[in-house]
């Protein structure tokens, strides 16, 4: 397939770099300021190098990449809330042109799911978004395979930064601020970790799962989620949990049409208490008990592998 990658951050650049490995050709690559477009395939290495040295990926306009030659548009710009722009606009343009869309950006499917599905219905293209929930882990495709109707609940640790902080606090008896600073030094937490520690990132993923599970076609947005973060959680709470063979994890839960995110007590050795940045999702199924999917929930190549798996699932146009 011919792939245009919009967004040149960790995920976008990894998709561009790995696409050839999966048998695809990158015909467009754009960041917010510039683009490289070539119907025969761009020189990916040259554009990645140019981004590193000159700060631009090419001499074309980003809009040219969105309206350029491709079968699949990969939307990997940063997640935005509310109107989900500019990501939503890119999805709209691609679908109106009867092209496929693969999202790594959570905004359009967390905040405007109904609009995305309505555009998809009018288009010959298909929208897939495996990478938006749990990075490399095949969460949405497993839900689709099992059939959402036969899944009664989904629970998971969906933010590696928050999980790292809680598992360090629990394991070492360290305070929140101390561990957060350490996480930033290690590159596990961003300079502004707000969305990771206040539960927003995990909630967006929960909302996306709720949208996929919704049988009645009810639409969810971030506003519908009940969200509590882990900021300033007291070390004494983790100590008390540990005395009782338990620990605390930031868990996103989608049960009976409700999305809840917050710190929860879980048995210390339970599947839902992974350590470090590892993510896990537990599906409660109607006929098959519990099913756990764990792995790396973030990272450039990891998330790109989920994007490219989606590209491989798409039908020929």
């Amino acid at each position: 397939m011919r792939v245009a990658v919009i967004g040149a951050g960790a995920v976008g650049s990894s998709v561009a770099e790995l696409a050839a490995d999966y048998g695809h050709t990158v015909t467009g690559y754009a960041d917010s300021q510039s683009a490289a477009v070539d119907a025969d395939g761009i020189d990916v290495q040259a554009t990645v190098d140019r981004k590193a040295t000159d700060g631009i990926v090419g001499d074309d306009d980003p809009a040219d990449a969105v309206s350029g030659p491709y079968d699949v548009l990969v939307e990997a710009t940063p997640t935005t809330l509310g109107d989900a722009q500019p990501g939503f606009g890119h999805v709209e343009t691609a679908l109106e042109r009867d092209r496929h869309v693969v999202l790594a950006n959570k905004g359009p499917v967390a905040e405007r799911y109904g609009d995305v599905r309505a555009l998809e219905r009018e288009s010959a293209g298909t929208v897939l978004f495996e990478a938006t929930v749990g990075g490399a882990m095949p969460v949405l495709s497993t839900i689709a395979d099992f059939d959402p109707e036969h899944i009664t609940a989904v629970r998971g640790v969906l933010n590696g930064t928050a999980n790292f902080i809680l598992s360090r606090m629990g394991g070492e008896g360290l305070g929140y601020e101390h561990v957060l600073a350490e996480a930033q030094d290690l590159g596990v937490a961003e300079a502004d970790p707000t969305f990771d520690v206040d539960g927003t990132d995990a909630a967006l993923k929960g909302v996306i799962v709720a949208n996929v599970l919704s049988e009645a076609g009810e639409e969810y947005t971030l506003e519908d989620a009940d969200v509590e973060g882990i900021q300033d959680i007291d070390g004494s709470a983790l100590d008390l949990a540990a005395e009782d063979g338990r620990t605390v994890r930031l868990i996103a839960e989608v049960v009976e049409g409700e999305v809840r995110v917050g710190p929860r007590l879980v048995p210390e050795h339970a599947p839902l208490a992974p350590t470090g940045t590892r993510n896990i999702v537990q599906l409660e199924t109607e006929h098959a008990g519990l099913l756990n999917i764990s792995g790396r929930g973030a990272g450039g190549p990891e998330t790109a592998s989920a994007v490219l798996a989606d590209v491989g699932r798409l039908p020929e146009l």
């Binding site: 497993t142 629970r155 959680i233 007291d234 070390g235 004494s236 709470a237 100590d239 008390l240 949990a241 005395e243 009782d244 063979g245 338990r246 605390v248 868990i251 839960e253 049960v255 917050g262 710190p263 929860r264 007590l265 879980v266 048995p267 050795h269 339970a270 599947p271 839902l272 537990q282 008990g289 519990l290 099913l291 756990n292 999917i293």
Partner: protein, 177 residues
Amino acid sequence: MSDSTDEVRAYTVRLELVDEPGALLNALEPIADNGGNLLSIFHERGNLTPRGHIPVEVDLEATPERFEGIVDALREAGVNVIQAGAERYSEALTIVLSGHLINTDLSDTVSRIQEATDATVTDLSLSAPEGTEDASSARIRLATEQDAAAGALATVREVAAEKDLRVIEPLAAGGDL
């Protein structure tokens, strides 16, 4: 992906012990030896059953299969098992409260939770590393009747919100996933 039908669950076992040295140890050994994880022991010393024995309530975690083995082993060891598992208080609920627990009257918090929910607080641990004036945390274990755990949790949330306390809930009310 992994299958997990051998999920660990919480159980409450009520035992009757004779009042003699070593009786408690004799009752706990079969639990540990058969793969049970002891969570709490409520030893009602001073309180006698009609037969003159001492009632002991033990909370433990085990897989369903191991739990059966534990009950068998207890009986083999001559321990009188009154209730095993889901009967009187079939659901156990552990929560952690954080905040200014002492200043907001912890005993009032506990009694309001008990009164409003018909639940029993079976265990309470307090951690106040900075002294009683500062923020502290308490782990509270509630025993509730079947299907009453969700209601108990709602009351806990309500009382906590009123006193500006933070609640760390168990994952699913009544279930130990």
